[in-house]
Symmetry: C2
Subunit: 179 residues, 2 copies
């Protein structure tokens, strides 16, 4: 089951490494970005999981109420022979329906790009009908893993994006602001 | 099958993105590193795949004939909402048995870190006996994918590391230099 392995890989190879350092990254960011708008308690990484696995590389392409603001400070780790591999997150300024700005660290769950592309490669072994199932399996497996993880507690929010409101041009910003 | 998905993820999320730009990276590197020792035709990314999935984060810890030299120039790509995500490779200076230096871009196949850690997590669903099988499946799946990939042709070398010579302190450098 591809989704099961991708959820473990996303945790063991990424979230487990970056989430424990998130608070420190935010503190450094606030010190250097005095004009940023943060809600107390929203210092989490918001992880978007669209059910159709259709991921955009730039959030502002999805919703014009979303603008890239800046990156959190980089983390550099020696990983599997790559010296100083860089891990970073993007902070976006998201406007609500009344035009008020909120800043948040948000990104899509990158492994869904793999799920999407695999469903299009004939030799990869699964097609579009199974893809939705695999996304749900990814979401549930990731939820279970993260709930057991003490070091990642309260550092993330998984946001499952169902596709009923995709015709609303501000669907993404509204969804992000609910969390 | 976890290894199957990890091989596709490694290709779709990494090798397919970085291998086509490798030649250009090497050219820039040569211009700024006039003292580097390259063998004509060795401008490939060497990818180490140890059968026991036991990966070191720093190659010099494995063999003192290997030293980190410098990183190839960074690539920055917007990926799944992360703006300017950094992709880089490490160049190592590897000495042969007569002390002559050779420079190469080499790294372990990072997904093997996930395979190794999953085999240790009880809730992940597979144990040490299956791990070796999974590494072989990863290797073969990756080989098949890369052989079909026109844009990655001649840009990589997969090196399967069997564990018979692990008592030789220069096993890794000798193996790298054979390729
Ligand atoms: N958003 C995000 N930012 C990151 O920096 C990052 N790094 C990893 N991941 C995701 O976590 C999981 C585990 O990563 P791992 O390194 O074991 O596998 C990685 C790794 O083997 C290789 N790879 C990707 N980026 C790099 C890189 N910069 N350097 C070396 N290898 C890389 O290709 C695999 C798939 O990558 P992604 O498909 O981007 O998603 C990964 C994966 O789902 C990231 N996700």
């Amino acid at each position: 089951n591809v989704a099961h392995g991708l959820a473990w890989s996303f945790y063991l190879g990424y979230l487990q490494l970056v989430l424990p350092c998130l608070e420190k990254s935010f503190d450094t960011f606030h010190t250097s970005h005095r004009d940023s708008f943060w809600v107390r308690g929203s210092q989490k990484l918001l992880i978007l999981i669209p059910l159709n696995a259709n991921i955009s590389n730039r959030l502002e392409d999805e919703d014009n109420n979303i603008k890239f603001y800046d990156s959190l400070p980089n983390s550099e780790l020696d990983r599997a022979g790559v010296r100083g591999r860089v891990y970073k997150h993007s902070v976006y300024r998201v406007r609500d329906e009344r035009g008020k700005a909120h800043d948040c660290a948000v990104e899509y769950a990158t492994p869904l790009l793999t799920l999407y592309r695999m469903s299009q490669e004939r030799s990869a072994g699964f097609g579009e009908p199974e893809r939705r199932q695999q996304v749900l399996l990814f979401y549930r497996t990731l939820q279970d893993i993260l709930e057991q993880s003490l070091e990642c507690r309260n550092r993330y929010r998984l946001i499952l994006l169902k596709d009923e409101h995709e015709d609303d041009p501000h669907f993404l910003s509204k969804t992000i602001l609910k969390h």
